[in-house]
């Protein structure tokens, strides 16, 4: 099989929260690849 799945672009969490005056703190994007650092 070969299939195509349409993707839709939506507002990000940051945009949605930002519109409510909630700022999201910056975090190093590469921490995603070191999940043991979240274990605590």
């Amino acid at each position: 099989l070969k299939v195509k799945i349409p993707l839709q672009k939506h507002k990000s969490m940051r945009e949605t929260l930002g519109e409510k005056g909630i700022k999201i703190p910056y975090q190093d994007p590469a921490l995603k690849y070191y999940p043991e650092q979240f274990a605590g």
Binding site: Q8, Y26, L31, F38
Partner: protein
């Protein structure tokens, strides 16, 4: 009022539908090449964040079976807890049976409340899957469901519609010219080697000893090694605002440098229109640089880049599990 870990998924914007169970229940998921688990909101969860989304109800599915295991998914954007179970998953008409799924039982932090997706479908390698869950792509391969064991992303530059993920083959209408291939250097994430970095065509030598990059549809920005950030921003002429963002004069976008990555002998340029984000807040227009620093190296110690949506809007990307290689072509 939460102190929460939020990063990569806070800025992601491209989602698509899958269905789970019999009869099928449709959910919106983020297709993430930077993780390997499948999880969705479920009726096991009753937090505010879960209640804001479509939930998968295993009791309404005749093909669901629980396995009694729990799983902790330490995502960067608010970790979550879940129960594992098996069910049939339909991805664009490809029917995967006995797919292990994480069903959320608790989403302890607020960020998912604002998420427009109901779950995440990881497309990276099985070795990084939490709880040993077999990724969807691996089940597609073992159940022999694909023409070719690959998938490919086209991310639209503008507008809500037009982006596409294909499984089993590439979509020739979504790219121009040839696909340039490079081997995966670590079969964990879709990680590749970068041999050069150029500013306006001039080699910087910053990657002359080798750099690594993770190709990640679950990260929005282009992420640069922190030791390069100062020089990149200087070359761009960006000024750091009091909020930490790097800003440029919107009228000067066309005069900003092109940044290029040399991968397996081919240069992949990013024009300023790719890495500058024009925003409008309260009638005030400003332009920020969509490049963020990372302070972490790759697993082999080389400087680490992340090719997120900023890069992937410019380049159609193909992820080949048969030959363990990534392909890029002009989108």
């Amino acid at each position: 009022s939460a102190s929460m870990y939020i990063n990569n998924y806070a800025d992601t914007t491209y989602f698509g539908a899958i269905s789970i169970g019999t009869p099928p229940q449709s959910l919106q998921v983020l297709f993430d090449t930077g993780s390997s688990n499948l999880w969705v909101d479920s009726t096991y969860c009753n937090t505010q964040a879960c209640n804001a989304h479509t939930k998968f109800d295993p009791q309404q599915s005749s093909t669901f079976s629980a396995n009694g295991q729990s799983v902790y998914l330490p995502y960067g954007a608010g970790s979550l807890y879940g129960q594992l179970g098996y069910d049939t998953v339909n991805v664009g008409g490809i029917v995967v049976t006995n797919q292990e799924i994480g069903l959320s039982t608790q989403e302890p932090s607020n960020p998912f409340l604002a998420a427009k997706f109901d779950g995440i479908l990881g497309l990276a390698y099985p070795g990084i899957s939490a709880g040993g869950q077999t990724p969807v792509m691996d089940n597609m391969i073992s159940q022999d469901l694909l023409n070719d064991d690959l998938f490919a992303f086209y991310l639209s530059r503008g507008g809500q519609q037009g982006s596409e993920l294909s499984f089993g083959g590439v979509d020739n209408s979504m790219y121009q010219g040839q696909i340039y291939w490079t081997p995966v250097t670590s079969e964990t994430y879709w990680q590749i080697g970068v041999q050069g970095f150029q500013i306006n065509g001039q080699e910087t030598s910053w990657c002359s000893q080798g750099c690594q990059s993770i190709v990640d549809t679950g990260t929005s920005s282009l992420t640069a090694p922190s030791q390069f950030m100062g020089n990149i921003m200087q070359a761009i002429g960006a000024q750091q605002s009091q909020y930490g963002m790097y800003m440029v004069d919107c009228s000067q976008i066309n005069n900003l440098p092109t940044l290029s990555f040399v991968i397996s002998g081919t240069a992949f340029p990013l024009p300023p229109s790719a890495y500058i984000e024009q925003q409008n807040q309260n009638g005030y227009q400003f332009c920020s640089v969509n490049i963020n620093p990372t302070y972490l190296p790759s697993q082999n110690g080389q400087p680490l880049w992340i090719f997120g949506d900023v890069f992937l809007r410019e380049y159609y990307s193909v992820y080949d599990r048969t030959n363990n290689q990534v392909g890029f072509a002009s989108a």
